[in-house]
Amino acid sequence: MSKDNVLEVRNLQTSFSTDKGEVRAVDGVSFDVPKGKTIGIVGESGSGKSITSLSILRLLAENGKIKGGEIRYKGEDLTKVSEKRMRELRGNEISMIFQEPMTSLNPVYTVGQQISEALISHQGMNKKQAMVRSVELLKLVGIPSPEKRVKAYPFELSGGMRQRVMIAMSLACDPEILIADEPTTALDVTIQAQILELIKDLQERLGMSVIFITHDLGVVAETCDYVAVMYAGQVVEYSDIRTLFKQPKHPYSIGLLNSLPRHDIDQEKLMPIKGNVPSPHEMPTGCRFAPRCPAATDLCRAKMPELMTDDSGNQIRCWIYSDEWPGEKEVNVYGETRIAKG
Amino acid sequence: ACAGGSDSENTSEEPTEETEGTEGSEGTASEGAEGGDLILAVLSDASSLDPAGSNDVPSSVVQANIYETLVNRDENNEIVPGLAESWEQVDDTTWSFKLREGVKFHDGEEFNAEVVKMNLDRILDPAVASPRLFLFEMITNVEVVSDYEVNITTEYPFAPLLAHLSHNGGGMVSPASIEADYEALNGGADPGSVISENPVGTGFFKFESWNPGSEIKLVKNEDYWGEEGAKVDSVTFRVVPDSQVRAADLETGNVHIIDPVQPNEVERINNSGVASVNQKASSSLAYLGFNTEKAPFDDPLVRQAISKAIDREAIISGIYDNYGIPAIGPLAPGIFGYTEDIDAIEYNMDEAKALLEEAGMADGFETTLWTNDNPQRQAIAVLVQEALAELNITVEIEVMEFGTYLEQTAAGQHDMFILGWSNPTGDADYGMYALFHSSQKGNPGNRSFYENPEVDELLDQGRRETDPAAREAIYAEVAQLLTDDAPMAFLLHTEYLTGISDNVQGFDIGTDGIYQLRDVTINE
């Protein structure tokens, strides 16, 4: 384990048992979370982003199970530690903000009570101390008149404020890692801007690592240092932010960037990725993107590529960049040219 | 008065009829000590404790222990002195009563001729709208002759007047209560409300408390005018509607007397070792009525056929566990005017078939049989239905709720129906006039809509005739006519079944269902 990674996820496999059999929602996810950095996980809806994060905290639904892989947190494999140990970590060293600020807070307790809970159980504070700290935390996340708001019920707050409360709650015990699962998707742009600023600011001040899950590439570009791109339960590309946006390698990443309508420049015609995301019940045997990939070869359709690390430490899951690539050396993907390795 | 059939589970609403009953059986060597609280578990609560205020058995049984009447009837159905020491018939329509002196009401008021007048006038007062008015409506004048002498004048010669006066509808209420009640009436209250709330009579028990729907408590009247007053300190009438529960209460010693006992429970109680069942013939009649105005029941042959097809013994044994006797006419044995000397209809299926054939109905017909939701009556209906099937008569049973039932049978919408009639005055007039006189069609009692001028004539005579022997002859004649005409199939006279704890002595029940409580003692 390299020194400055607080968390390393290796080949994570998570599946659900359902009516129609087992569903591999996450099937080969690997990424690192360097200390003090923000890593983004992007991908389409259903690609397994949330399940990845829930696997880290072991908060899967009852029919879900981690089937393989490792989640190394400071030397411990979280897939193996006891439930008791997990509880010590949750909310204390690794905490999480969820997508829906509206439903993620318990409607029958005041925000103060909900923030205090973690403090009482992890830091051994008494109720009074916890309240005092809650007020500080609310102030930290920029809630006006926190002394009053601490007694408010969630329904009395707007969406943006609730999300701030969620953040305050997750920061309560100064976690090492903050997982933010689409923390702004449900919010309006102007409010989203407020929250993004806040998270950035807090990270700088508190120096924690952040896993930022989103499907909004704009948000990623603004907040992250590294990005893992997920497709159909797998990480297809993991690289630093500039590489991804300037020189994306995986055809899916290229297609994704291409199909994005942008408000800052004019585009003649969008370049969509054809086809649909495969259903989790009928995954293609080879590369999962092959049915939609403009450069796909028979090899791609037959065999799943491994996640390969290149010289700069970035990772890619695509045959083009392997020695076995059977196709042309210059591959045209969505009008962009990529040099194959083989 | 339609007899609800005291064995019914839901008779609380049935305006059955009854009279007093204090004199009754003479103190049969009461070994028990005096005192104690006698608890009776009864089917339903009284509706009013004003003698003029209601006309149902549950009220009567309580009233009879608070109020007294001018005359009483003994166990042989003879009229004996009550609050009146003696009486004589002055002319056809005038009766003179000599009253007992020194009788005081529970509130200390004096009993005298004025009080009698007040009471009778009250019952006749349209403003009071007494349900017991029918008992006394022939009275035109009550005249106070002296302090202790009173004359009663009737509109027409009315032989059963004494019997009617023995009915506890003629119970004497304290004059102070009557005045207070009138005052309240003028103030907008319901008539009788004051009297019912706080009944004051001259009887050997005084009213103590009434928890509606639950219990009524009476206490011994220490100042009773008679030589013998009550033996127990108090009596509680507790309402326990469920028969099984009553029986259980009796067995566990929670109550001393239960009324009624279901026939099927008799054995169990007798075997319990702590109580036994007292049987007493009742004066009531259970009958199956026909709508004589409606085809095919306008044909006496059809009526007779049906009457013949009913096996009364089977009903009595099957449904009443033999606690009852078959009826040959409207009157029960022991009632004034009862006779056995008639050609009664007897069970005979073959004759029934022949009669029906004679009526041209050999192929039978479809009809309905109505009853109310009294289990015994329903059971009778089921048996009748089966029996008539043999005559090819298809019977559909319709069970109605009592209020509807009375309304619709009074309106003559029925074919056949099952009902009862009780006789609290013990007189043939009561047992026949309302049931069969053509002036009484519908609500007053003649639900068969029977009309026979001959019968009308005889019934009117029976009322006027003062000679008892002549009266008996008249009623015997009516009885035969009724047998021939068969406006109804007389079914049976039930028995009163009361469960009595072995600790209780001296209890008896009248043929009218009234409890005789004066001589009761408890031995615990």
Partner: protein, 337 residues
């Protein structure tokens, strides 16, 4: 070529009563749309943008009379749709169609694709019954589905495919104007691009006019000719897309544009972060509705409502509702964060 007016909205108001009190009296109103006016010309795409709850959808729905407008005119080819009878309105519905946001909720789950489309044609009596089947298959091909899929149920399709069914339904009655209420917002980017392209193609092919409702400025920029910016039930700025993106005048528009993250790590720009939340449309602030969050607000803004107007700074047809457009662009006013 002179632009042909297709739809003209004038002084449109849509208030929703708030029931309460004894026996459910109306105690207040949600002023979802409060006096807006604009015009749409044939063949163009006009977009409405704004934050959640500012009245975008309501505007669309009032035009279609899915809600009865409280006040105002909606002239379609010269006929005021707001005043004609419901029966007459049914005939006009042929020309005005709508595509919704939620690909899951916008198709009856119990109908096959064919019966969805057939019903649409049946209601508007578009074709004789025996010709409809052919038309259905043609429509499916038009929107990029295969004819054999006609007998499938919605749940057998992906989100993007369902959205195509919705588009086919709208097309089935040959409309002139289609209102797209967040028609692509629920789709993933890769699918969204497919649908946007489809909409553009169809517009060309059938000379359709779109009223495009979205909160995604990227999408809006891509598809529109002109853009309307709404804030709390009012139009704050209206312009063709280039003027709007390059030369926004209203402080709200500026903030909105700056708030959107750009998928380009090198463009670290200055962001205007607005304070607070959007106020409630039940008791909207007096004066300029934006004044509670505006960094330039003055007393005048608090009392006097600005009208939509143009100024020297702006191209023709560009209007904004701010008292201080000129002062702000001249730098004469400093923001007060």
């Amino acid at each position: 070529m002179a632009k042909q007016e297709l739809l003209k909205v004038e002084g449109l108001k849509q208030y929703f009563p708030i029931k309460g009190g004894f026996l459910g009296r109306t105690v207040n109103h949600v002023k979802a749309v409060d006096d807006i006016s604009f015009t749409i010309y044939e063949g163009e795409t006009v977009s409405i943008v704004g934050e959640s709850g500012c009245g975008k959808s309501t505007t669309g729905r009032s035009i279609l009379r899915l809600e009865e407008p409280t006040e105002g005119k909606v002239e379609f080819q010269g006929v005021d749709l707001a005043t004609i009878s419901k029966r007459q309105m049914r005939d006009y519905r042929k020309d005005l169609q709508i595509i919704f946001q939620d690909p899951y909720a916008s198709i009856n789950p119990r109908q096959t694709v064919a019966s969805v489309l057939n019903e649409a044609m049946e209601i508007q009596n578009v074709l004789p019954a025996n010709k409809r089947r052919a038309r259905i298959e043609e429509l499916l091909e038009t929107v990029g589905l295969l004819p054999y899929q006609a007998d499938r149920f919605p749940h057998e399709f992906s989100g993007g495919q369902r959205q195509r069914i919705g588009i086919a339904r709208a097309l089935s009655v040959d409309p002139k104007l289609i209102i797209c209420d967040e028609a692509v917002s629920a789709l993933d980017v890769s699918i969204q691009a497919q649908v946007l392209n489809l909409l553009e193609d169809l517009q060309e092919q059938y000379n359709l006019t779109y009223l495009f409702i979205s909160h995604d400025l990227g999408v809006v920029r891509h598809i529109s000719d002109r853009i309307i910016v709404m804030y709390l039930g009012k139009i704050v700025e209206i312009a063709d897309k280039h003027s709007l993106f390059e030369n926004p005048q209203h402080p709200y528009t500026k903030a909105l544009l700056s708030a959107i993250p750009v998928p380009d790590p090198d463009k670290k720009k200055e962001r205007i972060v607005l304070k607070g939340d959007v106020p409630s449309p039940i008791d909207p602030p007096a004066g300029c509705r934006f004044h509670t969050r505006c960094p330039f607000a003055t007393d005048k803004c608090r009392t006097e409502e600005p009208k939509l107007r143009t100024s020297d700074l702006m191209k023709e047809g560009h209007e904004a509702a701010c008292h201080y457009m000129e002062e702000i662009s001249a730098g004469a006013m400093q923001p007060n964060y």
